[in-house]
Symmetry: D2
């Protein structure tokens, strides 16, 4: 069985506490790694602090070359990494490969953006008080960053913290999910071969109590957390003086209007709804279809959902596989049952076997049901009709969350109204809310989070402006 050492201040080390990594599909423990304790964390923090100055003064071309080399290495090891990722997470290999490709892209863009940290010129003489002066604003790295990543994109969501931290010139300590630590520990090996100084990156699986120090310790200048709302918002209160970025969940809505391409909408909603069993922050959870085309959409969509190929995530034909663990499958089952009891009906799916939950379509739901109002984080989609477009927008907005929303339409008026009124971070026209490319600003409003990821945006969050006012 393969053993992965954890990455502490540039060294690969083992600790007293070993951590089994389980394949959710087979249920086997196929690899082991270690949990960091207080000692390893302290070592990583000291290593990080000790290279802050070196990171800050690193010339741009060295940062660029190192980040680019990571991107290139990930590309070379694409299939190898995708298999590890698939095994630790149960993610179908097709999507696992897609995730590696995105991590390749995330490091590539980070490399490019590291050259493009903006500066700003300010004419200061807008009043006589500033006569003879001008200002130049530059950005400097904040210092040590703490990152906490989730299980559902074990590599790329960790990379969305590591790559911008490095591009900005910050050392970072990253805590992966304990379920899925392997792909990011593989990344650690690649990073250790670059010219970034030892301590620039540490990758430490750890328990929540150790993880808590990432939140409270004042030596971290920024905390970037991707995970559940309840945990995230608590962290904001506990974070002391550091800045906080929160990428939390949602219950994303889609609107399908009669002016849209229904077949396109069906096809996109299928992927958005069931890829990785809906364990995606921007998974399509609620679909609202204009009543004139509801029947058409419903028929086509339900048929496609029933045709999804279920199986071993390592098979390239597999569309859907198991969920990350039994607890989550149980929770989804419970929520669906609750919905059915309260009047919902099933158009497809609805059954569970162990940690596998069938791709499910519910209708006749209402907003008090958990499958509507909370983040289902499973392969369950609700399908409802609407009359007026304004009503559809209200349905989508009737949520504590606001991450992304999709609108299928050919109407300029509807596009404008949706963009203006939808309370979300992004409105995707003629695609699902699940749409994300790695350089776009990504993040939510309301309970869905604080701040934006996406390389350029994260990099700026991870830097501090400093103004030089000088005579001209």
């Amino acid at each position: 069985m393969k053993e992965y050492k954890i990455f502490v201040g540039g060294e690969f080390v083992s600790t007293k506490t070993s951590l089994d990594v389980i394949n959710p599909f087979t249920g086997d423990c196929f690899a082991k790694t270690f949990l960091a304790g207080q000692k390893e964390l302290e070592k990583a923090i000291l290593a990080g602090k000790s290279v802050e100055e070196e990171m800050k003064s690193m010339p741009v071309y060295k940062k660029f070359e190192s980040l680019l080399s990571i991107s290139n290495e990930l590309k070379k090891k694409r299939i190898y990494l995708a298999e590890i990722l698939s095994m630790e997470s149960g993610k179908p290999i097709r999507y696992a490969l897609g995730e590696i490709d995105r991590a390749v892209q995330t490091f590539l863009v980070a490399a490019e953006e590291s050259k493009r940290i903006p500066g700003e010129y300010l004419s200061i003489d807008w009043t006589a008080a500033g006569e003879g002066k001008e200002g130049w604003l530059k950005y400097f790295p904040l210092g040590l960053v703490a990152g906490i990543a989730p299980f559902n994109f074990p590599l790329n969501l960790a990379v969305h913290k590591i790559a911008p931290a490095l591009a900005a010139g910050n050392p970072i300590i990253l805590k992966p999910s304990r379920s899925t630590p392997l792909s990011v520990l593989e990344l650690a090996k690649i990073i250790s071969g670059t010219s970034f100084p030892k301590g620039a990156v540490s990758i430490l699986p750890m328990d929540r109590s150790a993880g808590n120090q990432l939140v409270t310790d004042d030596r971290f200048k920024l905390l970037s957390f991707t995970g559940s709302p309840a945990v995230g918002w608590k962290m904001k209160s506990d974070a002391g003086r550091k800045k906080v970025i929160l990428e939390l969940g949602g219950n994303a809505g889609v609107i399908v209007t009669e002016s849209s391409d229904i077949d396109l909408a069906v096809k996109k909603c299928l992927v958005g709804g069931y890829a990785y069993s809906g364990q995606v922050c921007i998974h399509v959870q609620r679909i609202y279809v204009q009543d004139s085309v509801f029947k058409e959409f419903s028929g086509k969509f339900t048929k496609e959902v029933r045709s999804l190929k279920v199986g071993d995530p390592l098979y390239k034909e597999t569309d859907v596989s198991v969920m990350i663990d039994q607890d989550n499958a149980d929770r989804v089952e419970e929520w669906v049952k609750e919905a059915l009891k309260d009047g919902a009906t099933i158009l497809a799916g609805g059954n569970k076997k162990d940690n596998y939950f069938e791709p499910t379509v519910l209708t006749a739901t209402h907003n008090d049901m958990k499958v509507c109002s909370l983040e289902v984080f499973g392969p369950v989609v609700t399908l409802e009709k609407y009359k007026s477009f304004s009503q559809a927008l209200e349905y989508v907005n009737d949520s504590r969350y606001g991450l992304q929303a999709g609108v299928f339409t050919n109407s300029i008026k509807e596009m404008n109204q949706a963009f203006y009124e939808l309370e979300v971070g992004s409105v995707i026209i003629n695609d699902v809310p699940t749409f994300r490319v790695d350089h776009m600003p990504y993040g939510g409003v309301k309970d869905s989070g604080l701040g934006r990821e996406g390389l350029k945006y994260t990099i700026m969050e991870m830097m501090e402006p400093k103004l030089l006012v000088k005579n001209t």
Copy 2:
């Protein structure tokens, strides 16, 4: 009879050659001014060159205050100036007032933009060759500018050269149209009361031979010309080393689709087609209507055209009045006759009386007719139907010109296609091509011109970048 001295290097002077200013509606000479000769031009050039350094080093707050004070003065004298402008140009007072308001806005925005000349930061160390270096890019005024303005917006199109020149820190010599020199000479009085140095602005009506020196003299660093294509493109060849901005004419097209608001389209096309008798660079000349709504549009539009109120431009009810002179009215008549002879039919108007030409709608035209292919610069609109949207785009593009185009539609696809395919400077969705606000980038492609006006854009054209590379 009122006499206006011309504005030469900060002095108001008379010359040996007087110039009568005719009211096109009454035919009376109601004021006189003077033509500059070689001597006055030389004096203005020397005055301009002598203050280049002072203009360049003027603190931002002084430029701002002076430009703002001009805007405020224009506002105070709004009605007085509108009447002068109406009399010299025959422009209905409602539109003359609108032009003063726009000149107020143009100076206001110039004032604001004078504070916001951008600088740019460049990290230079993208390769080892640049290690330890950084770059700061700033913009400096080019030096003396030559401006040539047309008769149709006697004040605001002159202001679009004067205001950005001053905001950029350049002295300018402006040649107004000999038909309409008064409103801009009124502006000269306002400018002479500010803290801009004497010589910063000269306003000189002049004959073409003197005007030619504005084109050829190397002491001018930029020529900004608004006028006819034939004259403009010739200037580009004769301009020596100076930069050239050309704002030339067009034969703007509008597309009205069945998904649009027909009443809105009618209302907008009426103003776009006949305001100031179509003597506007972006006047609506060619309307293409989807066949399913052609009849509706045609009926409503023709009815409205017939209801336009004709009369004395000084009356506030007047919609349409005379053209600038007999020659232009004759030319329009000739073109319309040619079209009729070649098969066009008249839906409204078509008659001329002296220098008044009726608001006219033609149909059954084709693209070989002058009323289609050339710039009619008169109150004549052609109205044709189209089948597919692609065809409509082809119709609009089948022109040597490309200034602006209007598209009335509610379809995202049509909007996208129009924006991508139309060969123009601006595509206006759900409004006429005649739409312009003074801070937007304005200018044409193909034979319609070179470069963009609109304060921020003109200011940048009137400046030279200079890079400082220094150690960090």
Copy 3:
């Protein structure tokens, strides 16, 4: 005695709790106003929430005109307002007039920036996943804002919260200092005459317990606080999901090198050190002079300090007057005594009479003394020598604070090093850290705060990005 009603959701109202306003120089109560209780605050919140939508959809030109009209009204009432401000704060009239001028400028720039809320274009097709798509990023107002302003710039620091909130399209509830509520209540009268809807701005003096609701109530989307570090950082923990901007204090340092213009440095340090008795966040607290010129600087500076004109703040000759209250004067006296006991010596001043404290220069201090390490917020400056420039930078950085720093030098190397190494928000070359113009980004690092003020920057903090991804 004049009575000021407080400004609650567009109405001027009195409450059950009256608040006496004391002239710190005479000790007289010269006006009264009212403290808001829970009821008034709730009314203001409801009023603010009720106009969020109207504020969000206000066209730019209306926001611009309203903000500009406030600026113009403040200008008209300049002397009247300065006298009120001087009386409530004890600020010498010369500086009070300067503060009104700055508030005029702050609203002017807010008006201009309200037109320039940026949008951003993103090509989305950086990978095949984004083919056929593009992104447009726009910014929308956050919603209701809470602002808490201090006594030392009673008007302009409140305006730095109100003006950007309005420019961004946010309603705001502002709590002024209970010592100095009058000038901002005068502003309320001006605002109530504009076209901003009722509820867009409320101005409520209140006690700390009511003020605490500004921090904790989730209906506020952002809290902007200017005040002391201890209070500020606590607020960050208590703020729930809202964003927080903290503008806290400092103990600003100045470095005077031998390559600098000593007379300039003396003159600037005099104003930076003693204007408004040092009750300024960026007051010059610590001066480090290169040993070769220490004697010269020290002699000239001490002489000037002794020549400062002390007296009634309403006299235009007055340089220095009383402190805001007895408590603060006592605190400063205690700190100076502690320093003297620990070995410091006095070069000028050192005495207190009632709430007046003499302009004071100390030397032979060390960093354990409160006059060095804490924010003195009084007319006390320490003067020490240094040998190497690196040492001087270390002295300035040896502080928990980091707001601004000044460096007098003609050396490019020293400028570069200072900008790179000084841990502050701004480095001012050849001027004191007290330098601020209202459009520049202003704010501190370390314990001095979080985020930046300065119109453009605050406006952006007060808005939420929203991305539109659409087909092209």
Copy 4:
């Protein structure tokens, strides 16, 4: 002997007119290629026009990948290409390798910038006329570009036209110098292996009469010329409606002040003065040294000049080799003789052998001599002293040219004054004017040119803005 076919519309073809390529060091003809005639040019133009639409609609990721693959291929063939370049141009191999590295970088940056074509958001409602509207400004490729490249950087200066043209989405026809066509024809082979359509790039050596069509033919939308001022400015007049970028020559000046690091200045001036025998547009031609350090600088510099290693350009130790041809060597000799006759004295060098001219230092020159006032484009440097810094700036500015200038100083005041007053495109502090990195804006003022190169800047010159105004 190797034969190179020319690259016409995606095909490698031979023509009736062969062209011998001479090694300037050996005098041997070591390869042959062909001159394009009218027929080949027409074929290339038609091919270019035919792919304009395909280039315009190419998704960003395909442009990026293709440009990146060119960069990577150049890197792989680095040594092979450097040898060819060295042989065709006589450029010492060390500098030839440097040029290949720069071409690698130029394509890399073009790839990155192709993703970052900016768009701009405009709020249109600054007046009531624009209520309900917003603007989005995008940039579209101009269409077919003509490029004319010189002999002195046979590859990288061609790449500075080809790479941005492709990044912008424009096809391009490039005319290399007839002396040095090989390295860029090697590039053609690399380009032909990418996914750019056939016709996107043509590389055609041609005679001046055919070359003239690049200037006059209206099917080209932009002409980018690098070469001599006399030829360049003539082109501007002949260019018809197309845009023109001119990168012409200069006689760059350096100022060495007493506050600078003299050894650094000597070292940098040596490379700037004699690399590639001064056949560089920004070669150090005129050095002005403050009188207090003149002797020191002069002694050290002259000594170093005498130590330069002369020899075969293919040897890696070689510092200096032959000039491009006999004519140029003769011209330099004649200019030096003229200077000596008029009173100049020689501090080093001065002799010619065939097409080799010794690295030469002259002093006691004055500005009427050709070695001062014209572009020497050979290994000749003048060395003079100055008293005041203002005087030094006047010396540098006393030139018809204005490309770049270098200033060695540690004084902030001198840096500011130099940046403000020097009439050049770039001021390089503490380095020579010869400094250039490929992403910085590069270009001259006065007779030295028009427009800027440097990827981002050239790309923008090669695009046309188009504005969409739409309802919100």
